[in-house]
């Protein structure tokens, strides 16, 4: 691994050898190789590792990503650049989790924007397109969102690169998507042998969207409340302060939910999540523009804003000049 340091404070290449910007370190303008490293790579014993990996001149060159949703082994494509934010949807089957993701892409394509970030790219454009397909009417015909495969091994990660115009910084965001059936199994049995993917998402997510399916509440009434309350409790169990946003999906059906059922649901949610913020989202067009449709993007805005606040800030150190003790004045250089 090349030795040196990167002038970008967010880059961990000195420890990992992987460039923040996916470059070979020798090519990165911010990478400062130490003398020892330069001597090593110039030495006769060993050629730089990266040299052998570089495509030969005249060869066809492909790229590292396929455009489809990512899986765990692909995470390096993102994580070598930054520590991505994992924003997880949690909900039962057919609660609208995949439609929510499809709506995010559809809204961006139609010119709607995030509040504090701009879209700077994606390694999973094809994955986003597949999710948005069921929200389009290509021949004037509607299709249902294909259910996320209930196979316990199935999951996918959708990626966005976002830029904060305020300071120009880049943020990688991943949205894991797994089947609602597996979440339900996990709610009942945390150690369920088939819920490994959900446990991984739960362990690593930075924030959660908890889906309350208004259609299920309207149609199954009280019977829909109990399983959702179980899932909420399971989610709340080991949150360690990570933000949760309660998302009432298919909110176009909210008026069909009986008042008693709704009150019971709200009571349960308050009991578990306290005063967690709530949003009403829908994919159905009700007005132009429809606030419930726009709320899909707002959900991401809200969660990112809370994460930005929640992250501990680095404490300011006293000015060096005031101290006389050499030990306390040492700053690692």
């Amino acid at each position: 691994m090349p030795t040196g340091r990167c002038t970008n404070s967010a880059c961990v290449a000195a420890k990992t050898g992987l460039c923040f910007d996916n470059l070979t370190l020798e090519k990165c303008p911010r990478w400062v190789a130490t003398e020892m490293a330069q001597a090593k790579s110039a030495g006769p014993r060993k050629a730089p590792v990266t040299a052998s990996k570089r495509p030969r001149a005249g060869a066809i060159q492909g790229v590292d990503w396929t455009g489809d949703a990512l899986h765990l082994p692909d995470l390096e494509l993102v994580s070598r650049r930054s520590s991505p934010m994992l924003l997880a949807t949690v909900g039962e089957a057919a609660a609208g989790k995949s439609s929510f993701l499809g709506m995010l892409h559809t809204l961006l394509l139609r010119g709607h924007c995030l509040r504090d970030h701009t879209f700077a790219g994606s390694l999973t454009l094809l994955g986003w397109e597949k999710l948005a397909l069921a929200l389009r009417f290509p021949k004037g015909q509607a299709t249902d969102q294909p259910p996320t495969p209930a196979d316990p091994d199935y999951y996918r990660l959708l990626h966005w690169a976002l830029r904060r115009p305020d300071d120009g910084s880049l943020l990688d965001v991943l949205f894991p998507d797994a089947a609602g059936e597996v979440f339900s199994q996990w709610a009942v049995d945390e150690q369920d042998i088939n819920a490994e993917n959900v446990r991984w998402i739960y362990r690593h997510a930075d924030a959660f969207f908890f889906f309350v399916d208004c259609e299920a509440l309207a149609e199954q009434r009280g019977a829909a409340v109990a399983p959702l309350a179980d899932l909420a409790s399971r989610l709340a169990q080991g949150l360690r302060g990570r933000p949760v946003l309660v998302v009432w999906s298919k909110a176009d059906r909210l008026s069909d939910v009986r008042e008693g059922v709704r009150e019971r649901m709200v009571r349960q949610l308050t009991l578990v999540f306290g005063d967690a913020p709530q949003l009403y989202i829908s994919k159905e067009l009700d007005a132009q523009p429809d606030p419930k449709q726009l709320a899909n993007l707002q959900a991401v805005d809200d969660v990112l804003a809370r994460l930005a606040q929640w992250r501990p800030t680095v404490p300011e150190l006293d000015a060096i000049g005031h101290r006389t003790d050499l030990f306390l004045r040492y700053r690692g250089r």
Binding site: T118, T143, P146
Partner: protein, 278 residues
Amino acid sequence: MNQAANRVLIIGKPGTSKTTFLAQLFEVLQLGRGRLRLRETPANTVAIEQARRRLASGKSTESTPAAQNQTLRLSLLLAGQPLELEFPDYGGEQVNAIIRERQLGPEWIQMCRESDEWLIFIRLHDHEEPHDVLTKATMEVELAPTQSALESAGELTIFNEAVELIELLQLLLAVRELGIQQPLRHPRLKLVLTLWDELGTADRPEQALAARLPLLLQFARSNWIPEALEVWGLSAQGFRLDTPENQDKYQDGTPSEYAYVVTPKHGEQVHDLSLLFE
């Protein structure tokens, strides 16, 4: 003095009027008008000659056959400064292949790495995007038969236009080994909206792009500094050649005089193709 040329790479999918543009540009060069001069005679101008003959007789150019998709380089002088224009494939079929197969051939790689400026020719088609849940209520739309639902869940073959162009730019950036940690200043990016006369809009080019492919514009603005990003309009033909009056103008006059660009700042139509390369 041996001065390094400004190298411009011109990329566009099929039907983005690259051939018409080239033919008109070549006529400007041969007439010796304006600030552009040929530095060297290009080795191969077959596709342009055919297109020029058609334009001179008042006909639109035909789509370039895939077999003719070879690289064309024009070594020019713009107001005395060297300028290299590179068209890796003026039919545009390879651009489609790059997006779908996700790999670039050796010539592309070299040009992508060495160019100072990328001109992406974009045609905003006159047909609207299909409706989706943001423009039409599901209630107003009939449900597709189950078979077609199954098909739509399968292999995705039709891409959204903005998605395709974003992916193309991401592929070019990756091949050039450029990260987006900081917004880019080099290579400069010009998004050129072609067939401008057919859009029938009074908007500035950037507004037209924002209205039709907003995510592409958002992507470009996120990743290029404002000084390195411009959105231009281009009408290589000036008007449609489907009426006898318009055909007469081309047959009796100088076709290239009708070509114009639309400037990014004020949206002015200027009959000077060289402005695109400043």
